[in-house]
Amino acid sequence: MGRYIARKLGWAVLTLVVVVLLTFVLLRLTGDPISEGMAAGGASPEEIAQARQALGYDRPIPVQFVDYFTGLFVGDFGTSLQYGGPALTIVLQRLPMTLYLAAVSLVMTLALAIPAGLMAARRPGGWADRIVSAVSGVMLSVPSFVLGAALILVFGVSLRLLPISGAGQPAAVILPALTLAVYPAARLARIIRASMVEVATMDFVRLGRAKGLPEGTVQRRFVFRNALLPVVTVLGIQMTFLIGGAVVVEAVFAWPGLGGLTTSALSSSDFDVVQTIVLIVAIGVILINFLTDVAYSLIDPRIRYS
């Protein structure tokens, strides 16, 4: 297990270095933000040159990268052009709100998907199965911002039940979290159903029934436990989706998290902030994948990492 973790950690570090390098090069491909922003603001060429020199944008890109990269190790993630402060501080201020949204959303995902998937699997081809299949089919096709708009209309405008914007009230999290949860819940419900149905046809399940175990015990101990592995895989994938999906959902509901910061940083060429967000998100994705692997070995004693 120790060697396994060490190897995983090595790959994680390599991945992060490549991600940082590629984002850095990509963001600097088309000139620098200073010249463009200041020229638009009516600054003279001398002023622009001065600002570029002050912020280090006049040096060759490899030099800039080494400087940026070494800075990362002492916690210097660059400066936000948009807000003026250190990029890391600005990103970390917004991060808790996104994590909160994602956590509430994850709970909703499980609360929707598990009952739906189990109900559909109980009688494959039955009416519950067909309803779950049809509803999840639609849910997998509705863009989150369209669903969000529809929820705003119904619960915010027509029924006036829930807040539709910002994070001022405790109930404000409900609509964005639900919007974010619908897609992963539909994916998860389908995989739970497919996995349960597949395992249910296996010989050891028939053996369990033949031994005269109650159906509930067979389902719980034989079917559900064995059906869990693909479910955990998809859950891991969907959790990484939650991070990406949050960018969009936060825009719909003006939720003050990383998503809104991402779009504003991109449209104002605030590169250091974009860079920091990409790095933080990549760390999050790697962490989720690692936890998924750990969950495998907990669920399935046959899986041992070495």
Partner: protein
């Protein structure tokens, strides 16, 4: 390490062991979705010639409800929503298809090489995919499009770069299983070059699953393009993108005016639904492993 890619593709559309349900669930969804796609494509590519202007403004008619003079209503500038949605459909279909083709070209090349050559090459190429997976698709597309400035082709390229690995993985997995096949071994024995074997004998054998993946990917890329438009980072303003229409329409939602946001929204949903429906159906029809599982 365990290979989990095969299980994750096993999402089902309906799916039932009873004969009645199989006939009901499988038979019609695919053809129906296919017909809907043809119909939508016809509307999208012929419609703009028949309908009125997408930019004519009648400020006096701003926010006309659907059903009257304007079949699908009008927006905040009094522009007719119907021709704008049709134009948006055309744009959405074109850019997603272009992105899919580019993604398939890149992904197939990488996947075939990785699967056929194997060894070190395979390992490096698969690691590149792992690294890319650490950045969510939305974020990747947003960054690329912002850097390259949004035009039709830069958006198509960004979409392709966000989706190529799906093709690479499928192609690689299929080649790996075919490589051990007697047919390929026979061709190697008879002295055919690798390139010829891949193009003439491997590619046709894996085309079924690839067409299914391509269909599903068009759906995903339509969503990605619409998201770009919604976030205001898509194609520039006068061109009607369905996503940006939803964003503009959302302002009026609080006044209970639903059509400027939800009509383009419904159009995107229907478009994605048809590609998902056809793709899922094809995946079941073409994938013998899944057929057996039922």
């Amino acid at each position: 390490m365990i290979d989990i890619t095969t299980t994750t593709s096993a999402t089902t559309f309906g799916g039932a062991p009873t004969r009645r349900a199989r006939r009901f669930g499988r038979g019609w969804t695919g053809p129906l979705a296919g017909a809907a796609i043809v119909l939508l494509a016809l509307i999208a590519f012929i419609g703009p010639n028949l309908l009125g202007s997408t930019s004519a403004q009648q400020i006096a008619d701003a926010y006309s409800a659907p059903g009257g003079q304007y079949l699908l209503g009008s927006d905040e500038l009094g522009r007719d929503i119907l021709p704008r949605v049709v134009e948006g459909l055309r744009y959405s279909l074109s850019v997603a298809t272009a992105g899919m083709v580019l993604a398939a070209l890149l992904g197939l090349t990488v996947g075939l090489i990785a699967g056929y050559v194997g060894g070190r090459t395979d390992e490096v190429l698969m690691r590149i995919i792992d690294i890319q997976m650490a950045v969510p698709q939305v974020l990747l597309v947003l960054v690329i499009v912002t850097v390259l400035r949004p035009t039709f082709w830069t958006i198509a390229i960004a979409l392709a770069l966000s989706a190529w690995y799906v093709f690479a993985r499928v192609a690689r997995a299929q080649v790996l299983s075919l490589r051990e096949n007697d047919m390929v071994a026979g061709h190697i024995a008879s002295g055919l070059t690798s390139g010829r074997i891949v193009v003439r004998h491997v590619l046709p054998n894996i085309s079924g699953p690839l067409i299914a993946i391509a269909t599903l990917e068009i759906g995903h890329l339509i969503l990605a393009e619409a998201t770009l438009g919604y976030l205001g980072l898509g194609i520039a303003a006068p061109a009607p993108s369905l996503g940006s229409m939803v964003a503009q329409g959302q302002v009026a939602l609080t006044a209970g005016l639903w059509w400027p946001a939800l009509i383009p929204g419904i159009a995107i949903t229907i478009l994605i639904l048809t590609f998902n429906g056809l793709g899922d159906w094809m995946q079941h029809t073409f994938d013998p492993r899944q057929r057996r599982a039922r």
